[in-house]
């Protein structure tokens, strides 16, 4: 359970959240919706620890998440439109270097299973520069499978389905279902709500921010 208490977040001179309070329930999907520019990405990045909070705290149950930044970082996976992929590496090498960066010892078998979850196994030796946007997104989302091996509790996803075709969205949904069954929490920014076949909580920033 994430509690945001009196959170104030600035982006440059603009105040995006001011003394804002919210609760995000665990083992559920919470969809952050709202107009462009209302602060969906800002909220995700702030919870991920990339944007500092001007004021206020975020608690995971009773623990302030930013008291131990490293432990919090280990507990989440953040994926946005940039994907974090190196175009000079293959899909497989990207996953491997990402997992090593996270300090996780994974076998090649684990990584292949991760890619297989989004049907990227056939493309594992493609250079990212050769991949379409859809394939790139699937390459990035393949990381999510590793949550099941390494105790990750939170997924922070910024519009993860934009580039995905119907088949991939089904695969993504399956991954989310499995994560929820494993007591994971998903925080997802999205415009198109009809794509998901799981139930979700709605955090509508247009309504809730003032």
């Amino acid at each position: 359970m994430l509690y945001l208490q009196d959170v104030t977040i600035n982006r440059g001179s603009k105040i995006v959240f001011y003394n804002w309070n919210a609760k995000i329930e665990n083992s559920k999907v919470t969809i952050i919706s709202g107009k462009n520019g209302v602060g969906k990405s800002t909220l995700l990045r702030a919870i991920a620890g990339m944007i500092p909070l001007e004021k206020g705290i975020v608690k995971n149950y009773n623990n302030e998440i930013f008291k131990d930044r490293i432990k919090w970082g280990q507990n989440l996976i953040y994926i946005d439109s940039k994907n974090g992929l190196s175009k000079d590496l293959t899909v497989f090498e990207n996953l491997k270097t990402w997992s090593e960066m996270r300090g996780w010892k994974t076998s090649d078998d684990d990584l292949q299973k991760a890619l297989d979850n989004l049907e990227m196994l056939n493309h594992k030796n493609l250079y990212v520069s050769q991949c379409s946007e859809g394939l790139k997104k699937r390459a990035a989302l393949s990381r999510l499978y590793l949550s099941f091996l390494f105790d990750v509790e939170f997924w922070l996803l910024d519009e993860p389905t934009n580039e995905l075709d119907k088949k991939s969205i089904i695969l993504f949904n399956k991954l989310v279902q499995r994560f929820l069954e494993n007591k994971g929490t998903v925080l997802l920014a999205c415009h198109e709500l009809k794509l998901f076949d799981f139930s979700y909580e709605l955090l509508n920033l247009d309504l809730l921010k003032k």
Binding site: G12, A48, K105, F150
Partner: protein
């Protein structure tokens, strides 16, 4: 239930990643210092067959070439990792950003040193470098190259996320580079006039140690600011 790597293993894996990205083919290896070869060649051709003139400034040309080899490629790599979101991802790494940037500096130092050592004979011929200078040149490249790498990361972190003013920002690192240039060239000059280069060498080592400490902290601070934009 997690298999965790140690800091050192993660550190090494970051270096391996830079090698993987940069050394895909033999062409990549040479092209790292292609700019340096270009600069040195143009200088030598421009100055012409005046051996005394060349002897006076060949040391400086070499060091400037080295600086121009390391710093732009560092900047390119940091910009790339920022643009594609990799730096964002490293926020969730168990190793602090400081260590990650230190590993980048070391990686690029190694990545430049290797082709440089391979093409050193070319430079020796082009610049008419005296053979007795070579061991000192090697030591000063190894130490000075590390310094340049550490300084380059700071410069690159400064330009990250900067909008249009980024032509001016690299100028800010000139004060950091000057001691390296002076002492690096000083080592070669001392050998040339048959004096001991040790004074200059120790100063070069001293500055490198200082940069070894301050560079990761300063650049990590700058990168965190860039990420939060």
């Amino acid at each position: 239930m997690s298999l965790q790597s140690s800091f050192i293993q993660i550190f090494i894996s970051h270096i391996k990643r830079e090698f993987l990205i940069n050394f895909r083919s033999l062409v990549d290896v040479i092209s790292i210092i292609s700019f340096m070869i270009l600069i040195v060649t143009l200088f030598v051709l421009g100055i012409g067959p005046f051996e005394e003139k060349l002897a006076l400034i060949s040391n400086a040309i070499f060091w400037i070439g080295l600086i121009l080899a390391i710093i732009p490629s560092l900047e390119k790599t940091l910009q790339r990792d920022y643009d594609n979101g990799w730096l964002d991802q490293t926020i969730t790494s168990p190793t602090p950003m400081e260590l990650i940037l230190l590993s980048k500096s070391l990686a690029y130092w190694l990545i430049v040193i290797i082709p440089l050592l391979i093409s050193l004979p070319l430079f020796i011929v082009l610049l008419n470098i005296n053979l007795k200078l070579i061991p000192w040149l090697l030591i000063s490249i190894l130490v000075g190259g590390l310094s340049i790498s550490l300084i380059g990361i700071i410069g690159s972190a400064l330009t990250l996320g900067a909008k249009r003013g980024n032509i001016l920002l690299p100028i800010l690192i000139i004060p950091l580079i000057i001691p390296i240039l002076i002492f690096g060239v000083g080592i070669s000059e001392a050998v040339r006039i048959n004096e001991s280069p040790l004074g200059n060498l120790f100063l070069l080592i001293g500055f490198t140690l200082i940069y070894l400490v301050i560079s990761p902290f300063i650049s990590a601070f700058l990168i965190r600011i860039a990420i939060s934009r």
